[in-house]
Each structure stands twice: as C-alpha cells, then as structure tokens.
C-alpha cells in the first residue's frame, strides 16, 4: 500500500512503506548503507539543515539515561547549498524518496530554502522542523514561508507545543504533520558533572506522543495526514501509531542501538498494512519474513 501526500498545484510524495527515519538519526544520505536496506524504507528523512552553515556546539554531549539517552549536537550542517552539492548524487542513487529536513529559523530563510529546494530534483519533499518555544505566530509565519515550495511540505511539531500548534500550522499550509520532535530535557552530564539540556530519546517517550497523536487525529481534519514519531522501538510500537490514526511513522534513536530494527519495522508495517487491506490474518506476516513481493497493480490510496 502506498501513501500519497499531495495537494493541488504541488508534486506528490509517494511513500511505498509507511516507515522512515526521524530527522537527525540516519544522517544526510546513505551513511547506514552497510547496515540497512534502504529499499525497505518508505523514504529517507535527512538530518536537520539550515540555509547558513551551523557548526557543532562546543558542548556536544551524549548522556546515557535509564532506558534512554540525551543527545545534544547543535545540529551541525554545511548550509543548504553546500549540502545539496555534497549529497545530491548520493540522493539520486537511493531507491527511495528523499525528504529534506529544514530547520525553521526565519521566514525569510525558509522562503529562500523553499526556492532553492524546488530546483533540486533529488529532493521529493521538505520537512520543516519547528523549534521549541516557537510561538503560534512565528510558527505560522515559518510554515507560510516554507509552503511556497512546490513539493509537499511536512511540518514536524515540537513535543511540548504539539497540541497548540497543530491546527494553526495545518491551516498555514502544512501538507502533513509529523508528531513530534524528540522532547528536550535536562540531565547530569557524566563528563562535566553539570546539568545539561538536549533531546531525550527512549521507549518511554512513546506513550506520551502516542496519546497526542490519538487526540489530535480526532480533532484535526481527517484528510490531513499525521506521521507519528516518538519512542518507536518495535513493530508493535509502530502499529500502535497506525492504529491511533497515523498514516506513517518515523523511527528515531532505536536505529542507533539496533540498526536492523528500522528495517524490521518497515517490513512488518509494509506487510501488515498490505495484508490488512486484503482481509488477511495478522499472523500471516512475520517480521522475519522477507519483504512481500509488490502486488501486480499497486494503486495509490
């Protein structure tokens, strides 16, 4: 079953398997080529990018937590133009569409990025990442600016403001919502001994975000696709998001610990959704089975 994210006057993003990596976890292109079969995934979502180059923060840090991790990198990237030059060939070779994650900095930069990316055929869609503490007005301005892109625009909502931003962002032109970015948190850095802040990953994030997806699915227009993202660590986790109303999921830090998990989830969900539509039993699909052969006629739904 394919998912199409489309809007009149725009190109479509067609995702064959409703599973992709979350921005920030799988790199900019094919860094995981020796560990993951990219063809099993629905799309590649790149690491966050910006118009201007960003350098790593001085305090790059990884803090192990109980059943989780805090990470803070400063989201280094060489800036959008350099990045496109560096990776477009690798993107062209990937068997799946590339969704470029653009950090929301200013509306002017978002507009520039939109224009720049419309000229890059290797990018199939743009995902705009909204920062923490972005207000509704700023979010709307950023989304309006980014929505000038002719490709589909996904918008990733911050964890704490997800509920508040979802509707205004949708009305400002988002073609799909990604719920959510990893929540920010504070932990004691084993290295430096101080309290430091960063993104929090781990399985316990899942019940929190799953609830938001379920609630917002009931509140938002039914034709607005929601992509679930947060604490997915197993095929079951991913199915729960689909059942809560997400059309697709993004897997984040689980890939670091178990690279094969992303592929496993992708195969499971690809198979699950295909068989469900054919009225088959769940049991006929086992995550360790090879990917299902594509049906002869593969429609878009």
């Amino acid at each position: 079953m394919a998912i199409e994210i489309a809007r009149p006057g725009k190109t479509s993003l067609i995702v064959q398997t409703p599973v992709m990596p979350a921005a920030g976890t799988l790199g900019f292109a094919d860094e995981y080529r020796s560990l993951i079969d990219y063809a099993s995934l629905g799309a590649l979502v790149t690491n966050p990018t910006t118009i201007a180059p960003w350098r790593p923060t001085a305090g790059t840090r990884v803090v192990p937590l109980d059943a989780g991790v805090l990470a803070h990198t400063g989201l280094p990237n060489p800036g959008l133009s350099a990045l496109v030059r560096q990776y477009r060939r690798a993107w062209a070779k990937l068997p799946i569409p590339v969704v470029l994650h653009l950090l929301g900095t200013t509306p002017a930069q978002a507009k520039r990025a939109a224009k720049l990316l419309d000229a890059v055929d290797e990018v199939a869609a743009v995902e705009l990442g909204l920062g923490d503490d972005v207000g509704v007005d700023e979010a709307v301005a950023l989304v309006r600016a980014a929505a000038t892109v002719e490709k589909p625009l996904l918008v990733r909502l911050p964890f704490y403001e997800c509920q508040e931003l979802a509707r205004p962002v949708a009305e400002a032109g988002a073609d799909a919502l990604v719920m959510t970015a990893a929540p920010r948190g504070t932990a004691r850095d084993a290295e430096g001994g101080q309290l430091v802040s960063g993104r929090i990953y781990g399985p316990l994030i899942k019940p929190l975000v799953l609830r938001m997806v379920g609630r917002l699915r009931r509140e938002l227009p039914a034709d607005l696709p929601i992509i679930g993202c947060g604490g997915i660590h197993s095929p079951t986790d991913a199915r729960d998001y689909i059942e809560a109303g997400a059309v697709a999921v993004q897997v984040d830090a689980a890939t670091w610990a178990q690279p094969k998990m992303l592929e496993r989830i992708a195969r499971d969900l690809g198979g699950w959704i295909a068989t469900r539509h054919a009225d088959a039993l769940l049991d006929e699909w086992h995550p360790d089975m090879e990917p299902a052969k594509a049906p002869h006629s593969r429609g878009t739904s």
Partner: protein
Amino acid sequence: MRETQAIVERIKRVNRGYQRLELAVDRSLSALLPGQALLVRRISKDYAAEIWHPYLRDLWFPVDVLASNILVVEQPAREQFVPGQLLSLLGPIGKPLRFRQKLRNLLLLAYATPPTPLLMMLPPLLEQGTSLTMVTMGSARDYDCAHLPEEVEIIQASDDHSWGDMVMTLGWADQIFALVGEGPELIRFAEIMRLIRSRRSDVPANTIFGIFQRQLPCGVGACQACMLPVRPSARLQCLDGPAFDLTQLRLA
C-alpha cells in the same frame, strides 16, 4: 562496517579489577587493527525480548586477535558475563592507528582510565623491535599491569603527574598516544599537552595523538554526536578517529 553476532566463549580473570573475554566472532573481524573498536550490545535469542537498558552500545577496543574468529576483550570484573552470552557487534569502528615507519620509541600515556585501548598494539610493536613505555597517571595507576608483556616499561607517575626521567621519556619518544578518562576529555587532553610542552620544546604535528573513547550513538557518521573540534574542520570520532593529532585539536 557490518552488524554481526558473537558468543562469549571463555572468561578469564586477569587481575583484581579486570577479566578477559574470548569472543567467537565473524571472520571478517579478524582483520581488525589496533585503534579499531566494536559497538557492542548484549542480545538474546528471543528478538522480542529486546531490553533497552543500557540504551546505547558499549565501545569495546579488543586487546588481541587469537585466531581467525576469536577476539579478546578486556572488561571490568564487576560486569557479569557467562559463557554462551550472545552479543551483537557493529564494526570495525574507526581507523587503525598510524605508526611512524621505523618507530623506535613509543610512549603511551593513560590518564585516569584503564589503558585497554592501548593494549592491542603491544605484541606486534614489540615484535618489530619498538621500545615501549607506558605511563599511568591519576587513577590509571590503580590498573594492575602484571599481565602485560614484561618488555613494556611501566611507569607510575606521581600525584603531580610527573615522573623520573620525564624529560628524557618525553623527548626520546618518536610518537606518543594518550588516553584520558573521567571528566571532560578536552580539558584532560589540554592538561596532557601542557605537561608535554612544559618538558619538551618541539611538539611537531603527527607526533602526539589523543585517543578518544566517547560513547558513540550510531558509529556510522549519521548522528553527529561524536563530532570533535579538529582543525581545519570538525571531524567524527566514529569515522575519522579514535586518534586525533592533539596539535590540531581545539582544546578546552
């Protein structure tokens, strides 16, 4: 870089604080060289019984290759292992250490860390006639070196991090590899550099290397959490490390 499985075959206590594990590994890993590491996760046969604590993989620097499919690692004795334990290995991680051609005197510094990542190089370098000195500083002095090859000269630094013959040891070394632990590594490496500069007038490029041991989330250059402030531009420990020229590092 591949993901493979390994089995703990044999466990031997080597001193008060450490044990060595013999791992039956995929043959491709026998080509592993000093400086290269593995990202390790305990697994069980039942894939559904996945445990997410600890969350990230451990970074293990093997200490020996015994046969085409047996690697040896050294682990703290307090870590519980049993023969038959399954491991998932990602690796090899990083680039092999690069030694000078005609390396005569190699100095190894371990500061507040067990010297494990330095051990794999000892036998081959001794065999080619290199003279090896290892200085332990701070809590690294607690590490019992009795099981290491006896040709390696072991020096315990005093509390102020100096030792007898310090000027000579530092001056004669063709190459120095330093290892630090506990606390901010850039600050620790800066201390090491100050120490060396205070006793040795010239510190040319490509002579003194710091070996980094950060916990690596991905190991493949994707997450960018292991980025280090190296000149001219930032580098990744997982792809370009673990060793970086300390004269090229923007130290804290």
